[in-house]
């Protein structure tokens, strides 16, 4: 009888498994920092709840149209908040596309399409990441 061999060590699946947990916890932490920042800058009197939630996840003046955000906007236009936005965008998009990869591979299995699907998801991930960081830096 052959012994079961367990190969410990690095593998892409294991790394992504860990990354999914840590980035999830990281995004919750970043959201809490965003809410705290908004309140410190006076969101309690200047924002409604929906605007506050929107700004918590992505504190960028460029993607809101109808919301009235008076003076708080100025407070967000600093390098610190730009770095926070880039962090949340990187964690979110990577977490999301890895999740898409897991779901897709759950349903396609070890088919010959697997490398193509992986490549497509990788390209989409890279494209969206570049576009999102461009929006942050250009605003």
């Amino acid at each position: 009888m052959q012994e079961r061999t367990i190969r410990p060590g690095f593998s892409m699946e294991y790394a992504m498994w860990i990354f999914t947990r840590l980035s999830g916890l990281g995004m919750i932490l970043l959201a809490l920092i965003g809410i705290s920042g908004a309140f410190i800058m006076g969101a309690r009197t200047q924002m409604d709840l929906a605007t506050l939630v929107r700004w918590t996840f992505f504190p960028n003046p460029n993607h809101v149209i109808n919301s009235e955000i008076p003076d708080v906007t100025l407070g967000w236009a600093t390098a610190f908040w730009q770095i926070m936005q880039m962090l949340i965008v990187f964690l979110g998009i990577t977490h999301g596309f890895n999740g898409l990869r897991v779901v897709v591979e759950d349903y396609t299995g070890q088919s010959i399409w697997r490398p193509f699907l992986r490549g497509l998801i990788f390209l989409l991930w890279l494209f969206l990441l570049i576009v999102a960081i461009y929006v942050i830096l250009a605003s």
Partner: protein, 129 residues
């Protein structure tokens, strides 16, 4: 060779996984939903910023509407709380014993948080905000 699981939809629905299965299904649906939302939102914001496109602006106006916010806050809050439970269970495997209790705790947290969000969104939506 991968797993050859030929499980039809009807057979799948008969599987009595209970609460954890519903949480697993919802986690997948909400996760993919958020990915689609974020993807279109990033692209729309890019074109709104760079070219001032009408289509991109109208997409973002839909995303800002209170009816859409009710749906997307359900997706985000459920996915965050369920993911937090999964991360806690994976990082401290001892608590796997109490998965069903943790799931109940998760719903007890979810209902007031989401309920409050919906209350404020509806209140603002009806007052024409």
């Amino acid at each position: 060779m991968g797993l050859n699981r030929r499980v039809g939809l009807v057979q799948g629905l008969k599987y009595q996984g209970g609460g954890p299965m519903i949480a697993w299904i919802l986690h997948r649906i909400t996760g993919l939903g958020i990915l689609i939302f974020v993807g279109f939102h990033v692209i729309a914001s890019f074109f709104m910023q760079q070219t001032g496109s009408d289509l991109a602006t109208s997409i973002n106006i839909i995303y800002e509407s209170w009816a859409f916010q009710i749906v997307i806050t359900f997706f985000v809050i459920f996915h965050a709380l369920n993911g937090l439970r999964i991360a806690i269970q994976d990082l401290w495997p001892q608590v796997q014993m109490y998965q069903r209790e943790l799931l109940w705790l998760q719903w007890f947290v979810f209902v007031p948080v989401y309920g409050m969000t919906v209350y404020f969104l509806v209140q603002r939506g009806l007052s024409g905000g």
